[in-house]
Symmetry: C2
Subunit: 214 residues, 2 copies
DNA sequence: CAACTAAACGGACTTTACCCCGTTTATATT
DNA sequence: AATATAAACGGGGTAAAGTCCGTTTAGTTG
């Protein structure tokens, strides 16, 4: 009678065939991604090429966007490991300011490197960034806690900062030309702007930096 | 021989029937928008209810998102008039700082008021914000020019500021819960954050505020 | 007013994401 | 090993966006 206490939620163990098919689908989608672009990956073709039914594909990933989200999350797991236990300045060992700057820099690099996949992951499901923003917010909050700035509302400040990082990044992903300087065609230096923001925040000391929510 | 010098671009004059149908479609879509939500407006239903063919709908607006974009632009025209010649602090008459703050506040209000339509306008065409961002950037640049801060790179600063305004706003529209405080469920005060940013910029004086692109 | 032309129109057709549900299968239990 | 069952599977079906191209029509010119 050692039933799990929690009856809700999906089954804890993934069936062997389900796992095999999930990995197979991810592998095939990566193949197709290289051959043609993300926009030419259709679910029919994916299913056929993986030797599976369409129904299986959707049961696994819920939607077309879901597949690309899964692809992205695989990468994101690696990123998160680096953040939590990799070498400084991204990982532990550096000061909070350096780690904040490094976090933004690497996250921006990560998403711009995977621009096509990230865009496909948003398709028809613009709510996608929610979970990623939350990851960013939690990490920022942790670092702010360590920094011990004299800020009353750490939670609120973390939210502000994550919006300042993820917002322009989302805008850039949505339409890179929107953040392109008309004069020289150079893309805005998101990472530099982020670094500057963090440095000013830490320089300012215990007054009131980016205002927290009321 | 008074041919227009520019042979490119679409014909300058809209045919009478085309105009009639365009207005009719916009009216019908507004109706349907109230009855059911934006997500239940289908192009087939729209065409039928307007007594027109589907081809006509797409010829006019290019895509489903295009219709909602047109709807939004109609409102945006009114907004722009207020900006250019309305009463202060949004319109001329107030100082650059007040006008910048007012601009952000009203733009945020405008988009959150029309959240459903704005989301529909992004569907399948996340590049939508590009044109709006450009409007924001130009206006900010104009006000910065008047302010005569001691900034070397006004163009770059304007780009940074428009990203700081439009980025988080886009993020909020994409997934409001991403910018929601987990403790009290209150949405982040975008407008307050914007006001704070502008005030700090003007307080800082002629040193180096939000860094411009290299 | 008649001929002409470029634009607008209509609606069948195609494509593709996503749903449904009868069938199969992995896994736990005895 | 036999049984039970919850999960996974398959692929035909549906809905809705977007395309194509033959037909109609507004506006222009002589």
């Amino acid at each position: 009678m050692d039933r799990p206490v929690v009856p809700l939620g999906r089954p804890r163990t993934e069936r062997a065939d389900a796992k095999r098919n999930r990995l197979r689908l991810l592998a095939v989608v990566r193949e197709m991604l290289e051959e043609c672009g993300a926009e030419h990956v259709t679910m029919d073709a994916l299913a056929e090429r993986a030797g599976l039914g369409k129904g299986t594909v959707f049961r696994r990933f819920g939607s077309r966007a879901g597949i690309f989200k899964a692809l992205l999350e695989e990468e994101a797991r690696r990123f998160q490991e680096l953040v939590l236990s990799g070498p400084p300045p991204l990982g532990p060992g550096a000061g909070p300011a350096e780690r904040l700057i490094a976090y933004g820099r690497v996250r921006i690099g990560f998403l711009t490197d995977n621009l096509a996949v990230a865009r496909a992951a948003m398709d028809r499901d613009v709510a996608a960034p929610a979970v990623e923003v939350d990851m960013t917010r939690l990490h920022i909050r942790m670092l702010l806690g360590q920094a011990d700035l004299g800020v009353r509302d750490v939670e609120g400040l973390a939210l502000q900062l994550s919006a300042a990082l993820e917002g322009p990044l989302l805008l850039y992903m949505a339409s890179p030309q929107a953040l392109t300087d008309a004069r020289d065609g150079g893309a805005m230096r998101l990472a530099d702007a982020w670094q500057d923001l963090v440095e000013r925040l830490f320089r300012a000391g215990p007054e009131q930096p980016p205002r927290g929510p009321e």
